[in-house]
Symmetry: C3
Subunit: 316 residues, 3 copies
């Protein structure tokens, strides 16, 4: 990316990190930087998206991501309309495509969607004119999470390239890890993933990351440690004998942090299982930037909503 020739955002949708160029990622992060200042004002609101309508379709439970998007939308003065699974036409046997086409016929400007099945946002994006933002599809991608993680790292380290990032825990069930690997690889960071063998899918080795099967190996000399939530609710069967045993092997404690760099930062996408994948002393300790991630999430989502709505407006 040459800073002399600033790029413009040309995509209708944000479906995953996999398809973004490093320049597009930097454009989102830089735009988020300019929006983050609004969050520090007494009146955290700008008229940027006044009169635009955003549909929030959450077909899976979510507190943090949904509220982050809603707050981002309100700060931009967009109108938003919220739907969850329960009470929806889908329960009456309608296909998702028909639901999509029907919502499209009401001419929203943007659709934010979370769904338990990978690929649903992509299918939607092909069928409707509105810009589609993937807010998590199965264990596939969760691009705004990876972007807010990158934003948080950049704030602390000033860069992404050359950093050693360890991602630890329940790799198999995490959409966060896939989006983060794509992003960190593209931006020149070096990623090591670690976790129990029973939660480590074989295809990971082909994603251009190092794989470690002990916490100590994974975090050695790490600039950044990202802990993943043990997705207790996604596991058909337990992949490890007990929560206690998981914590003994892969729980991040202060003692174990010694292997990492002195200025390491600790991240977690939430919701945390304290005492399972992370000790409270670490979650609340001096290296933790976990709550900053949440704050930056609003700025990053404002940036994405803004960039996508801009494209949409121009093609009208």
């Amino acid at each position: 990316m040459t800073p002399e020739t600033p790029i413009r955002w040309t995509r209708k949708d944000l479906l995953g990190i996999a398809e973004l160029s490093p320049a597009e990622i930097e454009l989102i992060l830089d735009t988020a930087e300019s929006f983050s200042e609004i969050g520090e004002r007494a009146i955290k609101k700008v008229p940027t998206l006044r009169g635009k309508t955003v549909l929030n379709l959450f077909f899976e439970a979510s507190t943090r991501t949904r509220s982050s998007f809603e707050i981002a939308e309100k700060r931009l003065s967009a109108d938003n309309i919220n739907f969850s699974t329960s009470g929806s036409a889908l329960e009456k046997g309608e296909t998702l495509v028909d639901t999509a086409l029907n919502l499209q016929a009401m001419a929203p400007d943007l659709v934010v969607i979370r769904h338990a099945h990978a690929g649903v946002p992509h299918m939607l994006a092909r069928r409707i004119k509105a810009g589609v933002i993937n807010a998590g599809d199965g264990a596939h991608e969760h691009p705004t999470q990876a972007l807010l993680d990158a934003f948080t790292i950049r704030r602390h380290k000033g860069k992404l390239a050359g950093l050693k990032v360890a991602i630890l825990g329940d790799i198999e069930h995490s959409r966060v890890v896939r989006s983060n690997i794509h992003l960190l690889n593209k931006m020149g960071a070096q990623v090591t993933i670690g976790g129990p063998r029973t939660l480590m899918p074989v295809e990971m080795e082909s994603m251009g990351v190092e794989v470690a099967y002990s916490l100590e190996d994974a975090i050695r000399d790490a600039d950044v440690i990202m802990m993943l939530r043990v997705q207790l609710e996604r596991q058909g069967r337990m992949a490890f004998p007990s929560v206690k045993e998981y914590f003994q092997l892969f729980g991040l404690t202060t003692a174990r942090l010694a292997a990492a760099r002195d200025d390491v930062i600790i991240m977690h996408p939430g919701p945390m299982n304290r005492g399972t994948e992370i000790a409270s002393e670490v979650a609340d300790g001096p290296y933790s930037v976990i709550l900053e991630q949440v704050t930056h999430g609003v700025s990053v989502r404002m940036a994405v909503l803004y960039l996508l709505s801009g494209v949409h407006e121009e093609t009208v």
Copy 2:
């Protein structure tokens, strides 16, 4: 109706089509016509109902009708507050009248209500000062659906009078059919309803329509075909042997369309059961105006909200 003496809207509520005059129906459709232009702007918002509060009370599952009303309300700049059954005072044993009186005491301007029991919106309208819009009461009426259907027909045919309209399918469980028969009769269209005998209530013959028991008889020379959703979720027992058998007898296919007029339009209130009452080739084919119905639904609901709020305002 004489165009020289334009009528004014004087009703507090919109409870059903049965009580409307042809002039009132035309007033709503003409008003919707003027609102439909807003839906084509980049900024789909006018300040008409700024500062007005609309309560959306959906005591039955709904995606399309609820989102259509919500979008209409936001486009008019109204404030809206949404309630569904779950978590409501009704679950604590309060009577619907008490819920109504309590909501009324908070002085909303308009109440949109969907309820599984016929007559609930009417009871509400008698008790409260706010204008009440029936968004579907049991198998009784769904007036805004009939109005958006009429709007869509008028757009394509330029008129309603003299048209042959076939309404097909699960007549017994449909509130849409009752509202549509009232409207089409009042406006001078000729209605034929068709469907299996097990789904055809005897009182239909007295509603001033022709009744056919085969799809072919019903759609012969039709200008408009309205397919009804087979309300699988409303039937205590199956009224036909199987979905496959229903489709063989009453499913609308391209081959069967030959009996209708060459410029026939195909409508469906949604959500569709593809392969049950309608083939995908017809739903997505050149005669289908199904998605236009959805688009026009927003304009019609804006018109109704606008007309009712005007009356309310004058009586303050």
Copy 3:
């Protein structure tokens, strides 16, 4: 309280009546008085909280309190974001503190919370910067209910001091009664509580109220009668043989009203169980101010939102 030196609101939160001074209570009631005029306008909206964000966290079912807060927020032009239990991060095993910290990281200005456990709003208030309003915590406090009750009494009686107030019914399961006793005691009213012995906790005698075990004893010479809802949904076991028996002993009827003062007013926090704790003839009769309570609830909540947001703004 000396009227010559008007006090200023200095609290970050409104958690209970127990900690308020009489001057603070009067400040809220006087502020509500000035807001109540807005509810009588055709356009019930002022720009006071424009750009402020209010999170409504209802972890227990609520129609009336939630809608009252929502309407109050919209009338003040605040942006609001609504969460209920279902679909929340809490279901994924996150602690309430973490949910709180995460929401805080999104920088809302105010949080309205209802929760089944006493003390949850207090814990939240200690952890987050946003102002917290207790909208009901278990059987502990429900301060805005007591404030709207006091507002309603003041409107009718011109004062609170010296009045005889009878509170009747299911004392044990009521958060309303605790907040009301605190408030009425502080403001110089004389409180008698009455109800079945099985629903009368022993600690009540120490709260500075008279206790009566018959309806007649409780309401003798009362200026105000507050009926409590029999919380059928909160009782593990029935504390009385049957609804019919409860009504015979503690149901308020017109005949029984004779013992009270001629200008008595009848209140109920809702939702009412007609025929259990109150006869319809009383609920709908000339002494009832039950629906006025609901109307005043919006004004009182506007006042609380306004006062808390003012403090918050100054400390930014």
